[in-house]
């Protein structure tokens, strides 16, 4: 990855800090460099039919998705993209090793990697938007957002054959491994989608402490 691809403001947001002094900024630069060198971004996605059964809920490629929020999110969508993305194992290794030697770096590497995987998802999303003949797309929606339970993670990972295609696995407790990875659903529709809410941190934007100055807020 290219260090210039990363959004520094977003990294600071992940670090929970509005700014850094020169000293810490210099550390951050080396962390950005380290993550970008280590990252081997890999993605896989499938376009799947969306159905809204009469009894409520929503299915994706025949798989019933749990929770009201994802059903609401995909309202009016005919198809959806199920994507999986990972920065791959070496980034986890960097963060883990820094945890034994320098917690400041570990914290920063973790934040940088968070921004990097966002970037990978953004790029993939742009590619998908350009490629498919739908006028309207929802935002990405992931397990853990709203009431879309993370217990569905294994089914989503299996559906895109992520272990085999990009080396992304899921633990019996539903953690994605490598840790710096994402799965998400993007609805595609011929009608305008009303509900493009984004849940960056498992909360709605209205509940988010950053919503006022969030560059990504889509309330």
């Amino acid at each position: 990855m290219n260090p210039a691809d990363l959004d520094r403001d977003e990294i600071l947001m992940f670090l929970n800090t509005p700014s850094l002094d020169d000293n810490l900024n210099a550390v951050l630069d080396t962390c950005i460099e380290e993550v970008c060198t280590a990252a081997q971004p890999r993605t896989v996605y499938r376009v799947l039919p969306v159905e809204h059964p009469a009894e409520g809920g929503v299915t994706l490629g025949g798989l019933p998705l749990e929770g009201d929020d994802i059903a609401l999110h995909l309202t009016g969508c005919q198809e959806a993209v199920l994507l999986a993305a990972t920065l791959s194992a070496p980034v986890d290794t960097c963060i883990r090793r820094a945890g034994f030697t320098d917690m400041t770096r570990a914290l920063m590497l973790d934040a940088v990697a968070g921004a990097a995987v966002e970037r990978v998802c953004n790029d993939l999303e742009n590619e998908i938007r350009a490629k498919y003949p739908y006028p309207y797309f929802t935002a990405r929606f992931s397990c853990g957002y709203g009431d879309f339970p993370i217990t569905q993670q294994p089914a989503l990972v299996r559906m895109v054959d992520a272990p085999r295609k990009i080396g992304l696995t899921v633990t019996p407790h539903c953690t994605l491994l490598p840790l710096k990875s994402v799965t998400a659903v993007i609805g595609m529709s011929h009608q305008p989608v009303k509900d493009a809410r984004r849940f960056c941190c498992g909360q709605s934007c209205a509940e988010c402490p950053y919503h006022e100055d969030c560059p990504r807020a889509r309330l």
Binding site: T17, S88, A89, R96, G167, T171, L177
Partner: protein, 787 residues
């Protein structure tokens, strides 16, 4: 048909994709079809037999008990059915393979599946396959070398079938978990695979250079089973035609590949086309002897020039390491691994032998801890065969065993382990009569060790000799006999030579001078694997200079890279900050080096305890208060804590040197709960607790409830801190608290993590919700009565 008979043919043809041919509906489980729709599976096998396949893979790729958990399909039952279906479908002339794919879980350090669980799941598969009459075992589509090893060991230890193994590499020539082709090849050959190769992930064009690389690293027959190019994300269709696919196969044959098949996207037409393409051709000749090398799961070290074996992970003469091992604290070992790696070691020796330690239990744990922080290959150092075997099982890669010697008892106990696990072995040139005085006698013992090892099938290049360094002060001929023996072992026996260098100077003044002089002499005599302290003055420098001067360092690149920023005879680095900087200021501003330096200064005038209580703690309190009021944020807080940590490091060293007691305020056990592998939050809490003088016993991540309770009771701690980041793992937190209440009710608990709230913490019975690391420290102070 027998696999070994098939190998007498110029080429052997496998089948192509199974999933592709089954036309699975969304969510349909291929392994269930063995029980419900055998005819669908049988039809695929028949089609491949008709296309020319001589080996078909039974439909068992995902029939792993770990993968099938919760599906209602019994792995062994599905496997037995699958083998029967295949045998009935293809008849006697075609071999049926038990097909084993990955578990879908990751082993440490990346994941939390245990080696034993992985091994056990593969054992179930292998036994079922053998009972049902499989002709061979195939392990395929593997990414992680350790998981592959678990499967291969399970197959070798529970069946008498030949085992062939293919791994999956990405475009950078490594697997998803970072395993290079060289490491895969040498490890799998060492473990006794009958053939190895590459499958899945990419098309034949992309894999070809990787196969050319693999051919250099093994003597075994090679296998190619590529995808039909890359798939379209919408349709899932692969783009290569059977003809395009087959057209590339002669290039594989040219680099000596013998066994051909197809993976995702291929069908019987592909196999037919490959058979036709190769008919009547001859495969290329293979290189006979791969280069001498050792590896971890992620790094190969070629033994083509002197390589440094770091000796620091050894408790002999190290009070702090002994204590750390007795406490089950592996951070000290991790620290030694990190600093030796940074100092230029190529391989690390790992020895945990000390009274009171169960080596067979501790050596594998130490190996796992060290592999968390370094990629370097390891040398497993123990006199206990049980400890060596325990570590050999869980070591990902090709290690060195240190050591065997000329005693009959040692040869009998150690050499079979070397063979079974495909390791390299250090032979000590001593026997029942002790260490011979002369080089002649040592070489004779060395010869005997080599003969015995080779008789078991251990390759010559995997046998190293240690001609033993005798202390110079005990006899003037000692060093030169050692050097003569090294020379002869190197020249006459053609083996790698190992020496523990620093023994030479024992009992003499100016040891560093003797050590580096002897090192240079030994290197010149043919020493290739010095066991030494890479941080000791002049030692690594001597090896680098030797490599450069003897022509091992092309264009002096490595030497220049190591020293280009060095100024000769530079004065000691000046203090970074102005003289006005105080220790408290250094901590507040997060200046690590300054904090360490100023602590050393402060020790000249103050007692360690007063430095802690009057300077460090107040400084941390200042930063903590600023954090709480939003004047500084987490990165600054952590930086200050890290600076304080370096100050505490200096104090600890000082107190150990003085033989004084620790300034610990009390012990706290912390852990990330079972099932959870996030540990950054827990590590931050640990750092802050240590800053405030608490002795933190960090059990790591994914820790079972009972293990946490046992540690709390063993160390009689007043406080246990638990971290969980997932809604799915808060249950394990609750369970841990419940067990603590039952077995050790006087212990308090503090919990934290992204998904927790104060209310929820109360619901699960925690005594405190630590909303952040600072709050946890504040609670610790009340528990230990510091406030």
């Amino acid at each position: 048909m027998d696999f070994r008979t098939l190998l007498q043919n110029e080429y052997v043809f496998l089948d192509g994709g199974m999933g592709t041919m089954l036309h699975l509906a969304p969510g349909e489980l291929p392994e269930r079809l063995n029980l419900t729709q055998p005819e669908r599976v049988a039809a695929v096998h028949r089609a491949y037999r008709e296309a020319g396949s001589q080996i078909v893979y039974a439909n068992t790729f995902g029939a792993n008990p770990l993968k099938l958990a919760g599906t209602g399909v019994d792995a062994a039952e599905s496997i037995k059915a699958a083998i029967r279906i295949a045998k009935d479908a293809v008849g006697e002339d075609v071999c049926v393979a038990l097909d084993i794919g990955p578990t879908g879980q990751l082993l440490p350090p990346a994941g939390s599946m245990t080696f034993e669980d992985a091994y056990e799941s593969f054992r179930v598969m292998c036994q079922a396959g053998q009972e049902a009459g499989a002709d061979l075992v195939v392990i395929e589509t593997m990414s992680d070398l350790l998981e592959t090893k678990a499967a291969l060991l399970a197959a070798k230890e529970h069946t008498d079938l030949p085992v062939i193994v293919t791994m999956t590499f990405t475009e950078n020539g490594r697997t998803f978990t970072g395993c290079p082709i060289s490491a895969a090849a040498m490890t799998l050959e060492g473990l006794g695979a009958a053939a190895i190769g590459i499958n899945c992930s990419l098309g034949p064009r992309e894999i070809l250079p990787m196969m050319q690389e693999m051919a250099k690293w093994t003597r075994l027959p090679l296998i190619i089973k590529a995808n039909a190019g890359l798939p379209d994300p919408v349709t899932g269709e692969y783009f290569l035609t059977p003809e395009d696919f087959a057209a590339i196969m002669p290039e594989y044959a040219a680099c000596g590949v013998q066994i051909f098949g197809g993976c995702c996207g291929t069908n019987p037409d592909f196999i037919r086309a490959v058979c036709e393409k190769l008919r009547g051709t001859k495969r290329g000749r293979r290189l006979l002897t791969p280069a001498a090398a050792v590896c971890s799961g992620t790094r190969t070290v070629l033994l083509d020039m002197p390589r440094i074996i770091g000796e620091r992970i050894n408790p002999t003469g190290k009070k702090r390491m002994k204590q750390a091992l007795l406490d089950g604290d592996f951070d000290y070992l991790r620290g030694e691994a990190i600093s030796q790696t940074a100092a230029g070691a190529d391989i690390l020796d790992v020895n945990v032998g000390t009274p009171g330690i169960d080596e067979a239990a501790v050596l594998p744990q130490a190996v796992q801890a060290i592999l968390e922080v370094t990629d370097l290959p390891l040398q497993l150092d123990s006199s206990s065969p049980a400890a060596l075997e325990a570590a050999l099982r869980i070591y990902p890669g090709k290690p060195i065993i240190n050591s065997v010697n000329g005693k009959e008892e040692s040869l009998e106990a150690i050499l079979p382990l070397v063979k079974h696990y495909g390791a390299c072995i250090v032979g000590l040139t001593l026997d029942e009569n002790g260490i011979p005085q002369t080089a002649e006698e040592r070489i004779a013992i060395g010869r005997r060790i080599i003969e015995r090892a080779e008789a078991l099938g251990i390759p010559h290049q995997d046998i190293f000799l240690d001609c033993l360094t005798l202390t110079a002060s005990t006899g003037e001929s000692g060093p030169s006999e050692t050097l003569t023996a090294v020379r002869r072992a190197h020249d006459e026996l053609g083996v790698q030579t190992v020496l523990g260098v620093s023994n030479i100077s024992f009992g003499l003044p100016n040891r560093p001078l003797i050590n580096r002089s002897f090192l240079a002499m030994a290197l010149q005599s043919g020493l290739t694997l010095p066991i030494m302290n890479p941080m000791a003055e002049g030692m690594t420098d001597t090896v680098r200079a030797f490599r450069m001067l003897r022509g091992f360092d092309e264009n002096c690149q490595a030497f220049i890279a190591a020293y280009q920023d060095m100024t000769p005879n530079a004065p000691a680095a000046p203090a970074q900050a102005s003289g006005d900087l105080t220790l408290g200021g250094a901590v507040i501003h997060g200046l690590r080096q300054d904090a360490a330096r100023l602590t050393e200064d402060a020790l000249k005038e103050h007692e360690p305890l007063s430095i802690v209580n009057d300077i460090l703690i107040p400084a941390l309190d200042t930063v903590g208060a600023d954090y709480e009021t939003g004047k500084v944020f987490l990165p600054q807080l952590i930086q200050a804590a890290t600076a304080a940590q370096s100050a505490f490091g200096v104090l600890k060293q000082h107190m150990t040197a003085q033989g004084g007691g620790q300034a610990d305020k009390g012990k706290v056990v912390i852990a990330t709960v079972q099932g959870d592998v996030h540990d950054i939050g827990k590590n931050i809490v640990r750092l802050l607790l240590e800053n405030y003088g608490y002795d933190v016993i960090d059990l790591g991540k994914d820790v079972p409830p009972q293990k946490i309770v046992d540690a709390a009771i063993q160390h009689q701690v007043k406080l246990v801190g638990l971290s969980a980041l997932m809604t799915t793992t808060v249950g394990a937190m609750e369970e841990t608290i419940k067990l603590l209440h039952e077995q050790y009710p006087e212990c308090k608990t503090v919990v934290g993590g992204a998904v927790l709230t104060a209310d929820y913490a109360e619901t699960i019975g925690a005594d405190c919700f630590g909303k952040d690391a600072k709050a946890t420290v504040d609670y610790a102070k009340t528990v230990f009565g510091d406030e």
